[in-house]
């Protein structure tokens, strides 16, 4: 049967990752500069946590998913392993600068990408309930307006006033941006679009034309600007195509390549952040995990529980944070998916608390609209 023999390089070329930066403190506006930075890697399509961080100590793992489980994993402890694509992450783990939260998910169980992605960015109580995003609301609470780097404005960052975005353009034979012209256009527009135009005139002063667009370079760039004194406090990188319904692969293959991109992005951040790494937290998130069982086309279907990866200098001790539910049929969610025992919003809340210095109660109520969200801060940052 037809096999896709994409080389890693070709694959990276075709994967359109995008970067968003946000939360630039304005001198005199922000009273106390928040203590850290937060970077979110959005994994669109549903990342398979059981492949990324295989629980090889669970006897059901290989019974159910032998052909898609990596053989050359790195042992993290007596129960969990790390996929061999995570070379940089493995090093961070060894240095107590990375952790994994396992059997976790945002509280969404209906397995639609588009509802799930909307929830993961919106952070509301149900899909499409919010017009702003959780990170945007958090930055707003911290009084740190900002800008984003990408073509579109992702929902996750919407909701604070001074939102703007950047993405290196390459439109030939077009004139340099003319500030006066843009201001004139802006003035002729109604408020909503006028705001957007007026931001372009500000950014015409920054040269971003030489940034390569591959995920690692975008992360490196993000890290670099975040490390600056007046730099943004938050960034988001979006990596699409985790929806591996067919030919998922194991040690190598499609899903392994995608995990490699996460690793590259973390490496990019590490390099770009430099000494600012010590006050940074990076976390992955995805709309749902994938089925425990392999489907008929050596892939997996949409599921529920998955794993979240955390990295950064704010982590003091590498851990695997989990209440492992087991993989047997009776332990599965709806007898098909990994059960989620940790609400991933509480993980996001802890990262916001660490990076932006906000109170957990405030975050729970105002950002995630869930006053009873558990606080898991100490499990991650102690």
């Amino acid at each position: 049967m037809h096999k896709l023999n994409l080389t890693r390089r070709d694959f990276l070329k075709t994967t359109g990752a995008s970067l968003f930066l946000a939360g630039v403190p304005i001198p005199g506006y922000t009273k106390d500069k928040p203590p850290g930075t937060i970077s979110v890697i959005l994994l669109e399509g549903g990342m398979d946590g059981l492949t990324a961080v295989p629980p090889f100590g669970d006897p059901d793992l290989l019974k159910m998913r032998k052909i898609i489980s990596p053989k050359n994993y790195l042992k993290l402890n007596s129960f969990f392993g790390l996929h061999p694509s995570f070379r940089v992450l493995a090093g961070l783990f060894a240095n107590n600068q990375a952790s994994v939260v396992h059997a976790t998910s945002i509280p969404y169980v209906k397995r639609s990408h588009f509802e799930g992605q909307n929830m993961m960015e919106g952070g509301g109580l149900s899909p499409f309930s919010e017009n702003s995003g959780w990170l945007g609301r958090a930055l707003d609470l911290a009084n740190t307006p900002g800008r984003a780097l990408s073509l579109d404005m992702p929902l996750v960052l919407r909701g604070h006033n001074e939102n703007d975005n950047f993405y290196p353009a390459s439109i030939r034979n077009s004139s340099k941006l003319n500030t006066k012209l843009i201001e004139a256009i802006s003035m002729a527009h109604a408020k909503e679009s006028a705001d957007v135009y007026s931001k372009i005139s500000n950014k015409s002063k920054v040269d971003v034309s030489n940034i390569p667009r591959d995920p690692a370079s975008l992360a490196k760039y993000a890290g670099k600007v975040m490390s600056q004194d007046e730099g943004p406090l938050a960034s988001v990188i979006r990596i699409p195509e985790f929806d591996t319904h067919a030919r998922q692969g194991a040690d190598t293959g499609k899903h392994a390549d995608l995990l490699g991109i996460i690793d590259d992005v973390i490496a990019g951040y590490r390099e770009g952040l430099g000494s600012a790494w010590d006050r940074s937290i990076i976390l992955t998130m995805t709309e749902f995990g994938r089925t425990v069982a392999v489907n008929g086309t050596t892939g997996t279907e949409h599921g529920y529980g998955t794993a979240g990866i955390l990295a950064g200098g704010t982590i003091q001790k590498s851990r695997i944070i989990t209440q492992w539910p087991g993989l047997s049929k009776n332990d599965q969610f709806e007898r098909r998916d990994l059960m989620a025992t940790i609400d991933y919003w509480s993980v996001c809340a802890a990262c916001i608390e660490k990076a932006l210095g906000l109170d957990h109660e405030l975050i729970a109520k105002k950002v995630f609209l869930r006053p009873n969200l558990p606080r898991v801060f100490d499990y991650i940052f102690s």
Binding site: S112, R172, N173, S175, L177, A188, H245
Partner: protein, 489 residues
């Protein structure tokens, strides 16, 4: 903006310089539904001295619009060369020739641009665009050789047909079956799965990707509250449909008694027995899919879901429920006759004075048509990089952030204005207006365009405020709220 241009902005692609502007715009718009849609375009654009010379507008050559069998054949040649290239050292020139001779993604994408820029069927092209986006078939698993074919033959060819026909033709088209993984799916009790699953290194069974999106995106939407069982049963109905383009014709004859990729059902992959999807009993075998798509096509939730999308795309940025209801009623009354549905959409879009924000893709074609610029290469130049002041078609849409040949998610591009309000997106419009002005040699002055469309006072004031530089005036006009569809005349 005068009524003629207001309607052609909302529903079409604007009138080109030299087009006859119809007096009765409503009758014209409705007659557009039955306009002929030949693929027309130009062979080449060149620059002689300071002027741009464009070859005459004529039909696209047949050899650049191959049928499915030819597309599959070329794909096999392309793959065979690549396999060889891994063993032998092939030159870059040879690899490039292989890509250019045997792949059709870029050719089809340029043809689509030509349809938009040169076509006399502007409303039909907009409906083609709407439905292509509704039935997203992104370039995943490298199915670029067949996306354009599905657009022309499954969508455009069925614009005057019933929605159920379009739904079936798209669902069973190789571009969709490959994109959403269905070509590998096998019923768990199929002959193939039973044979395969007793062998050690063989895996066969269901893949629910297309079964799920058929319900969620293409028809009833999650509002219908279907269950995981409905999704799996829908996938079981689909199991067996389609194949990758490298399948041998011998195997196709054996398995499906056909060599037609668009009608290919592998009996050994089919799930035996009847299936139940949302309360509807579906027969076993090849005829099951048509029963399922016919059932879904006229389901009340499909009618509501797609009527809302049509209204959001064509009528208003904040559609009225009563407008949505009228489209739904036209759908019900006609049992899904697309002519009747589209007629209602056109009537409501004309009636509503609400603005409708235009996608970057639609806007760039409208700018090119209004100004008479030559901003797209001819079919002889499809693989030319930046040349004569013009970017490669593929590059234009990568920079614009919107292309039907990109790798993307099956929910397509949003018609909601908010999704596109970003500095970067707006900057692209300024830069492209500039590039079109600099590279495309506009045929009409900014003042003339404003007179022609009867630009409103705010737009005229804006253009006058930027001074006498013709490029600045052109950019200001094209990026005005009026020309972006952010406010009406």
């Amino acid at each position: 903006m005068n009524e003629q241009f207001r309607v052609s902005q909302k529903l079409g692609l604007m009138f080109k310089p030299g087009d006859n502007i119809p007096k009765d715009i409503r009758s014209w718009a409705l007659s557009q539904l039955h306009e002929k849609s030949p693929a027309i375009g130009i062979k080449s654009v060149s620059r002689v001295g300071n002027s741009v010379v464009t070859s005459e507008v004529t039909n696209w050559p047949k050899h650049l619009q191959p049928d499915l069998r030819e597309r599959a054949k070329r794909w096999r040649i392309y793959r065979a060369f690549n396999k060889l290239a891994r063993k032998e050292n092939k030159s870059n020139a040879e690899k490039q020739r292989n890509r250019q001779e045997n792949q059709f993604g870029e050719i089809d994408a340029l043809k689509f641009s030509h349809r938009n820029v040169y076509g006399n069927d502007q409303l039909r092209v907009r409906f083609l665009t709407f439905w292509t986006n509704h039935f997203t078939m992104g370039n995943i698993h490298d199915n670029q050789n067949v996306i354009g074919h599905a657009m022309d033959e499954a969508i455009l060819a069925n614009l005057n047909n019933n929605f159920s026909e379009m739904l079936f033709k798209v669902t069973s088209h190789p571009a969709m079956l490959i994109y959403l993984d269905n070509i590998w799916s096998a019923g768990e009790n199929s002959k193939h799965a039973r044979w395969c699953n007793i062998k050690p290194d063989c895996q066969a069974g269901l893949n629910d990707n297309l079964g799920r999106e058929l319900l969620e995106l293409h028809t009833v939407s999650p509002a219908a509250n279907y269950t995981e069982d409905d999704i799996r049963n829908s996938a079981k109905v689909l199991a067996g449909w389609g194949t990758h383009l490298e399948e041998t014709l011998k195997k196709m004859r054996e398995q499906g008694k056909t060599t037609n990729h668009w009608d290919y059902f592998k009996k050994d992959f089919a799930e035996p027995g009847k299936k139940m999807v949302m309360g509807k009993k579906i027969s076993p075998g090849k005829r099951g899919l048509r029963q399922l798509t016919d059932f879904l096509a006229n389901h009340e939730h499909t009618i509501k879901h797609i009527s809302t999308k049509l209204c959001q795309h064509f009528v208003s940025d904040s559609p009225e429920q009563s407008d949505i209801n009228q489209i739904a009623k036209a759908w019900r009354d006609s049992d899904g006759n697309l002519d009747k549905i589209h007629t209602k959409v056109i009537e409501l879009a004309i009636k509503s004075k609400e603005p409708k924000f235009q996608w970057p893709m639609t806007w760039i074609y409208q700018v090119v048509r209004l100004s008479g610029a030559s901003y797209f290469h001819g079919w002889d130049q499809v693989y030319n990089w930046y040349d004569n002041g013009i970017m490669r078609n593929k590059e234009v849409f990568e920079e614009l952030g919107q292309s039907f040949w990109a790798t993307r998610q099956p929910n397509g591009y949003s018609s909601k204005k908010e999704e596109w309000l970003s500095g970067e997106m707006f900057e692209r419009r300024i830069r492209f207006a500039s590039a079109i002005y600099m590279g495309g040699e506009t045929q009409v002055s900014t003042d003339k365009i404003m007179d022609r469309i009867s630009a409103n006072n705010a737009t005229r004031k804006l253009v006058d405020s930027v001074g006498m530089n013709e490029e600045s005036r052109f950019i200001a006009l094209m990026c005005s709220a009026e020309l972006m569809g952010l406010e009406n005349a």
